[in-house]
Symmetry: C2
């Protein structure tokens, strides 16, 4: 589920050539917690991680990343995971959530995060090397949770 | 030189209780390179690190952190290190430089980075837990180098 997203190099900064071991590290081991969403057959159809975005004096702001399985898209799953992650974040003591690099061409994500109360704090010119489009802009998005 | 800055908890997110080992790791080991500035007696009066700010598809944007020894402040040293770091960044192949968490109360830093062509891309509300002031805003600052 994660592999095609990382391989595409269109939404996450991780190398399109990332190994399974490295992907396990960044998605499962490094974060504070990782969740999966399952369908009615208990098959995994989505996942997200949550972690502090900065060390100690910035550790009250969390960062999350979300992936929905290709066959399960456009059913509101990203939206459900975004809601879940915010509730989870508050219960873990986080006061805000930050997305550091929302690729500007990922319009459905930008629209969805806005709908969930995230603001585009600013746009970083040419900060993402898109596999097909080359250097493009990415947004910093942010939401105070309490 | 670094210790009083980290202990103060007013400009960097690292824990004010950071150990020497952890500080060595974040300032010397984790970055791609770390430099020191010396005075005419070869005494160290400043230091900065440079590292990629994101993995692979964002690794063309670097991040730097700078510290000037207390007794050597207000002599243009941060400015010299900022210039040096930009030249160094270009020679290392970086295309842009990003400061992720410029504490809003650190007005001399904000003014200096602006003077050096960095823009405030956006401001993250309450993203820094200042040792004396509590939760305060911090800026994301950014400059295209080429």
């Amino acid at each position: 589920m994660i592999e095609p997203v990382f391989r595409a190099g269109e939404t996450y900064a991780f190398s399109p050539d990332i190994t399974a071991e490295e992907a396990y590290k960044v998605w499962i081991e490094a974060p504070a917690a990782t969740f999966v969403a399952v369908d009615s057959n208990q098959a995994i159809v989505g996942t997200y991680y949550i972690k502090p975005n900065q060390p100690a004096l910035g550790a009250h702001v969390c960062n999350c990343g979300y992936i929905v399985a290709k066959h399960a898209r456009n059913q509101g799953l990203a939206s459900l995971m975004c809601d879940h992650s915010q509730i989870q974040a508050v219960s873990m003591g986080f006061l805000a959530m930050q997305y550091n690099l929302v690729v500007s061409t990922n319009e459905s994500a930008v629209r969805l995060w806005k709908k969930h109360g995230f603001e585009i704090i600013g746009t970083l010119p040419k900060s993402f090397r898109h596999s097909r489009l080359g250097l493009i802009d990415a947004h910093v998005m942010y939401k105070l949770l309490t």
